[in-house]
């Protein structure tokens, strides 16, 4: 339990997807013009990361990893399918995004109206695939840890995009040098926020 909370908090503040690894920058830059839309996209990212990371964890544990197939038959202990992990992960992500979209549309039209348009964008968001790849690389020991990591990374991404959107709403009234307007200043702002987030480095609960 202790370890799970640690992973959760760490993935929000220390290993922040945006500030430490620059993942999901494309949609981060494109959708952060207003706070409202960024809240929608951020929520969708939390949602999808919270589902795809544990699902891909199970796949990795029981199908892809070296020797993972031995639960089927001890003879498979030498099979190593990890070279397929990229393609399986991205396929799972695309399928889950599609599934989530259909389920949400069916059962909660109001949620669909606020989240729906962002879901297709998410399938090719690097933060989502990055979540699964980091999960694989860090070799989490239980599904609880993997879920905590997925949700934590999502929350971290949410915080980052909402914060930058709020700043961008304000900065419209500032006198930014013409050549820096738009994405230039957004890059620099993100960098400065990243420096602020670095003060969390090394925290352990």
């Amino acid at each position: 339990m202790h370890e799970i909370i640690n992973i959760f908090v760490k993935s929000i503040f220390v290993d922040n997807m945006v500030f430490a690894y620059f993942l999901g920058m494309c949609s981060y830059l494109a959708v952060s013009k207003t706070v409202d839309t960024s809240v929608g996209l951020g929520a969708a990212v939390i949602f999808v990361l919270g589902i795809t990371v544990p699902v891909n964890y199970l796949l990795n544990e029981y199908i892809l990893k070296a020797g993972a197939l031995s639960w089927l038959d001890p003879a498979f202990a030498k099979v190593d399918l990890s070279f397929l992990s990229f393609i399986i992960f991205i396929a799972i992500i695309a399928a889950i995004v599609q599934l989530v979209e259909m389920v949400v549309e069916k059962f909660s039209p109001s949620l669909y109206n606020s989240l729906g348009i962002f879901l297709p964008l998410i399938a090719v968001n690097c933060a989502i695939l990055g979540g699964s790849l980091f999960m694989q690389e860090r070799d989490y020991q239980s599904i609880g840890q993997a879920t905590a990591f997925g949700l934590g990374s999502g929350v971290g991404w949410f915080l980052a995009i909402v914060a930058i959107a709020a700043i961008r709403e304000k900065i419209r009234y500032s006198n930014v040098p013409p050549a820096l307007r738009g994405i230039g200043i957004t890059f620099i702002l993100t960098g400065l926020m990243g420096i602020a987030f670095m003060s969390f480095l090394g925290i352990k609960l």
Partner: protein, 245 residues
Amino acid sequence: MYTNRYIFTYAAVLVIVAAALLSLAAMLLKPFQERNIAIEKMRGILTSAQVTEANANNAIPLFNKYITEELVLDPQGNVVNTYTQSPKEDAPAFKIDLKKQYYNKSQNKPYKLPLYIAQKDGKRIYIIPMRGTGLWGPIWGNIALTSDFKTVVGVFFDDKSETPGLGGEIAKPKFQKQFIGKTIFDDGGKFTSVEVVKGGVQKLPASMQIHGVDAISGGTITSKGVDAMLRNVLKSYLPYIKKNR
């Protein structure tokens, strides 16, 4: 314009072609990749034993030349497997996944520890592989000890993702050279490990300076990780050391 049948056939053919291509590539390249991983491990072990000429091309022959025994230990310090045959890379000790063993240890489950013994310039050198956590991810390495298990012959560290130029400096010879000649036991035989001291080893009392090295400035957390790794790993080997000293 496109029938469902066409779409399904198209998808099926595409997937089969892609899968065939990938499996072929994986099969062809696997030996190279595994060899790279083994060489990397051997280089680490050799470097810690101060076989400085080790590089990617000669690691395998050098490893077979210098390493004489590869042991597997249980938590009580008993030897459960001794391997002296060739090739050395087939030893059970060489195939142990350290990460898993230390995870088992933290969960109070049974675990196994590898230990390598090298013969260099007529001296026996004991090499202990290590694994720990730095700032961003895992760090690992080896520490080579003299046959009385007291003095450090050399160390080797590497990392996956420490900040290059800061924490990543642990993988540089400049940091690793400091460990040579330090001792992990004091004169009374008490375990001291080698402390990685922030702000420099001169901060320690004079009698302790033989058990300390300078931390990396700007790489505090990685340095702490190295310190913790040395302490934890060496502690796990204390039962064996006590029996064989």
